[in-house]
Amino acid sequence: MVRQKTGHVILAALWGDNPVFRQILGICSALAVTNLVLNTAVMGAAVIFTTALSSLTVSILRKWTPRIVRMMVEVLIIGFYVILFDQTLKAYWPDMSRNLGPYVGLIITNCIIMGRAEAFANGNPPGLSFVDGLFSGLGYACVLLCVAIIRELLGMGTLLGMQVPFFSTPLWDRWIIMVMPPGAFFTLAIIVWIARTIQPDKEPKKKVGI
């Protein structure tokens, strides 16, 4: 029973409720850091780290958190993990820290993490919340990596900065536009299009008033 439930949570987090194509959440950083695969991998690791541990912490503390200050507590927990990651990165890999610029700090306002804390960790036991957070982060990181691989391959003709057959030779005319901002929009749009064509939204689109 427990194993079945865990499997269900994992599948939902990776595909059924994937934060990027289903809910179109947290795409600010999905677009900003995906011009190089290496940057994206580090950013993805940061998001996985933060979502998993903050879901765990929110879930552990859920019985002692008064409802009124719940949001504030969640923000503080997320902020704590983001600071931890940011400081570690700055100490051990200063170049990467400079490349990512403010986007590591912006994980705090990444709706995915807050969304998982609110929607899942608040009403579920710590173990399951940790798994949910871990795989939501992983689902997000996978989409980020897909975008990054397409952009770096077409735009620079490399992968992780290494030479690739065909794309790194003069035969391939580099699409510089792919590593510039418009390339990010186009790539993500096409990925969302593919994902939504394979599995259309179950419920008819709700018209949001605002």
Binding site: I27, Q87, M180, P182, I210
Partner: protein, 200 residues
């Protein structure tokens, strides 16, 4: 630096933030509300105005807090949490003031204010301000320019989307998909401004 050249520099930062380094189209900040609240021009204008106002004031407050609280105690790493708290507190405060003194404004702007706390463009602008080491005047003109640039982008997008209501769009591309493609085309247009100004 004398006053004149400083004003000129601030002006350059202002226009760079609106055109060459648009916070939405070049830095991808504030995408969530950009995608979800760009169906009608009227609401887009309301949200845009709220963003301009909140961003201009919070960037000044964040600058003061960074310079006079975080730096003297060498606890700069605490800035993420402090900035978020300042933004949330400011939004709450401004909501109370507007509700008390201008019911009409509150009716038009009120529903957008809570949305703004989670708009990453606001926090992002403050973080850029720290990284680029702006002084107070530069920070304020950067905040105002970023807000104005964001507003311009969302209003333009809402105008285009109103027209798109009657268009036939492939099923999987409806909603966010087509919006992203339009944003990409807008970003292409804004690349045309590259090299005209640099606010760094």
């Amino acid at each position: 630096m004398n006053i004149g050249s400083q004003m000129l520099h601030a002006l350059i930062i202002l226009f760079a933030a609106i055109f060459t380094d648009n916070i939405l189209l070049a830095r991808f900040l504030g995408m969530c509300s950009f995608l979800s609240v760009s169906r009608q021009v009227k609401t887009a204008v309301g949200l845009g105005l709220a963003v301009v106002m909140v961003m201009t004031f919070t960037i000044a407050l964040d600058w003061l807090a960074y310079r006079y609280i975080l730096q003297p105690y060498a606890i700069e790493y605490f800035r993420f949490i402090l900035f978020i708290i300042i933004i949330a507190a400011f939004v709450q405060f401004i909501e109370m003031v507007i509700e008390r003194y201008s019911p009409i404004l509150h009716q038009n702007l009120g529903i957008f204010l809570p949305l703004i706390t989670v708009n990453c463009a606001i926090l992002g602008a403050s973080l850029f301000m720290v990284i680029r080491q702006y002084n107070l005047i530069e920070a304020i003109s950067f905040g105002f320019g970023s807000g104005a640039g964001w507003m311009m982008a969302i209003v333009a997008m809402a105008g285009i989307r109103e027209r798109l209501n009657n268009a036939k769009i492939p099923r999987g591309l409806q909603g966010p998909g087509i919006t992203l493609i339009i944003a990409g085309i807008m970003a292409l247009a804004f690349i045309g401004f590259t090299g005209v100004l640099s606010g760094r």
